[in-house]
Symmetry: C2
C-alpha cells in the first residue's frame, strides 16, 4: 500500500462524489473542551461516505466486468452507494437485501437503479443469494467493507479532512465492518502528522474493541443498538489494517449515542444517523483525553427514518 | 435608502455573523423542475437569519445608548439573536417573553445572556412590558421586524446569495413580520438582475397576502399554523418597503409545509424549522411559474423542538 494509491483513488473518484464541507460548533467545542472538525459525509451523494468506496471499486472494473455488473449484500447505505456508483459507470448493480428491510431503504436503492434481490434475513442466506447472482450473471461481488478498493475509497474522507486540517491530533470514526476506520487509518498514516485514529463503538456491538484486544476477529452475540449501521463484523481485509493503523476503540452506551445525536441535530442543525453520533459520543465520554486537542470526526451518514427518531 | 447603506451594513456585521453556505439538491431540483439555491441561515449564529438584523441594529447604538442596553419582545429567534448581538457589543438585552413560552426558548435566551422579563401572552401585555423596561432602564427598544436597521440587516442574506448567484430570477422567503422579505426586496432591487422577490405564507396566517391586495396592513383572526415564526403581523416600516419591492405572495397549506420540511430534512440532511419550509412549499405549489428558473430560497432558521416534529 502506498501513498500514491490513495492519491490516485481520490483523483479517480472526485468527479463522482461531493467534496463535503467541514463544520465546527462553538457550543460543542465548549462542552467537549476539544477543537472538533466534523467532516460532513451526511451531505455525500447517497447520504453517506459509502459512495467513496463504492465508486472506487466500480472504477477498477475491466470493461468485461463492467458489462456484467456488480453484486453486493447490504440493507444499508452501501446498497444505495453501489447502485448509484454502478449507474454512474453505466453498469448493473444487483443488491441482495433481506426481505425484512424497511420499504424506505428498498425504495432508495430502486431510485438509484439498483436491482433488488430479496432473501431471508440471515448472513448465510444473503451470502448464498449473492453467490448465486455471481454465478448466474457473472457480476463482480463487492463487499460493503471488507474489500481493499472500498477501504481505500473510504479513506479519501480523512484525506480531505487532513488536507484542510493537517495538524489534527485525532480522527474519530464509527466502527461497523471496519471499512471506514481502516481507510481512515491508512489516510492518517500517509497524510497526518502523528494523527491517531480512534474508533467509536456501541457497547452493544463491541466486536471491534474485543477483536483488537484478542488479536482475532470476534463476533457479537446480540446487536441491541440504535446505531444500526454498526452491527456488521470486521473482515480479513479490514482487520489487519486496523491492527496496524488504529490506535484504540472507545465504547459508548446507547444513552450516550442518543445524547450526542441530539446535540449534533440541535447545535449543528444537520441530520445525522445514530451511527454517526457514536464518534462524538466517544469524545464526550472520554473528555480528559481530548481536552485541548484538535479532533476530526467523520459524520458517516444522514440516512435516518424521520418517523423513528429516538427523541 | 441607498445601495451604500446595505453595503456598509454588510461590512459592519460581517465580524459577528457567519457567511452561511448555499446548498443545492439534485433531487429537489428534479421534483421542482427549477434550479434552486438554498441560503442556509439555519447555520447562522443563533440558528436563524435574525442575527443579521439584530447585530446591525445594536451596532448603530451610540455609546450612551449601548450603556443602557436594548429591549425587545419576542419569544422566537429574535430574542436569542438580540441577546447574542448585545453580548457581542458588551451591552444588556432585556427580553420580554410570554410566560407561556417553552422552557427551551427561555433557556436559549438565558444561555446567550439575555435578561428575561415574563408577561401575559398577549400583544398588549408584551408591548406594555417592553415600554416599562424602556422607561425604567433607558434601554433602546428594537422591534424584531418593524425596524429599518433590522430590515437592512436581514437583507444581507440575499446580498450574499446574489453575490454568489447574480442571475437569480426569483428569491423566495417566508413572511411573518415582514423584516426578512422587506430586506430581501431591497437587496434584490439593488443587487439583483431583474430578480423578483416572492413571499411564502401559510393560508392560516395570510395577512401579508391580504395586505398587499388591500393596500393596508391586515390582521389574522386565527393562527393555526405549524410555522410558528410567521404568526406576527406586518408593520408600518416593513409594509411600505414590501409594497414597493415584493412581487407577490404565494400561500401554502399546512400539509404542503410539512411535506416541504420533510423533503429538506430527508434530501438535504439539514434541520430546518417549519417556517423555513414555507418557501420551498411555495415553489412546489406553483411549479409552472418556476420551471426552468433559477430560484434562491432563504432557509430562515433551524430552531425546532425535536420532541415536537410533525412526522
Amino acid at each position: 500500500m502506498q501513498k500514491e494509491v490513495l492519491l490516485r483513488c481520490h483523483t479517480q473518484i472526485l468527479p463522482y462524489i461531493h467534496r463535503t464541507p467541514i463544520f465546527t460548533s462553538k457550543s460543542i467545542n465548549r462542552m467537549s473542551k476539544a477543537d472538533i472538525h466534523f467532516k460532513c459525509e451526511n451531505f455525500q451523494k447517497g447520504g453517506a461516505y459509502k459512495m467513496r468506496g463504492a465508486t472506487h471499486a466500480v472504477l477498477q472494473l475491466t470493461d468485461v466486468q463492467r458489462d456484467k455488473g456488480v453484486v453486493t449484500h447490504s440493507s444499508g447505505n452501501f446498497a444505495q452507494a453501489l447502485s448509484l456508483a454502478a449507474k454512474n459507470s453505466g453498469c448493473d448493480a444487483f443488491i441482495v437485501m433481506p426481505s425484512t428491510a424497511p420499504q424506505v431503504k428498498k425504495d432508495a436503492v430502486a431510485e438509484y437503479g439498483g436491482k433488488i434481490i430479496e432473501c431471508e434475513p440471515t448472513l448465510a442466506a444473503r451470502e448464498a443469494a449473492a453467490k448465486t447472482i455471481e454465478q448466474e450473471t457473472g457480476a463482480t461481488f463487492i463487499h460493503p467493507s471488507n474489500d481493499l478498493n472500498v477501504i481505500i475509497g473510504q479513506g479519501t474522507a480523512a484525506m480531505e479532512l487532513l488536507e484542510e486540517q493537517p495538524d489534527l491530533n485525532f480522527i474519530i470514526v464509527p466502527v461497523g465492518g471496519g471499512g471506514l476506520i481502516a481507510g481512515t487509518g491508512l489516510a492518517a498514516h500517509y497524510f497526518g502528522n502523528a494523527c491517531k485514529v480512534i474508533g467509536g463503538e456501541p457497547f452493544e456491538v463491541d466486536d471491534a474493541f474485543r477483536s483488537l484486544k484478542s488479536g482475532k476477529i470476534e463476533s457479537n452475540e446480540t446487536a441491541n443498538t440504535i446505531a444500526d449501521g454498526l452491527k456488521t463484523q470486521l473482515g480479513d481485509t479490514s482487520f489487519p489494517i486496523m491492527q496496524r493503523y488504529v490506535d484504540s476503540i472507545i465504547r459508548v452506551t446507547e444513552a450516550e449515542i442518543v445524547t450526542a445525536m441530539r446535540l449534533i441535530w440541535e447545535r449543528m442543525k444537520i441530520v445525522v444517523e445514530p451511527s454517526s453520533a457514536v464518534a462524538l459520543a466517544a469524545v464526550l465520554s472520554d473528555k480528559n483525553r481530548f481536552t485541548g486537542k484538535k479532533v476530526g470526526i467523520i459524520i458517516s451518514g444522514g440516512n435516518v427514518d424521520l418517523k423513528k427518531l429516538p427523541f
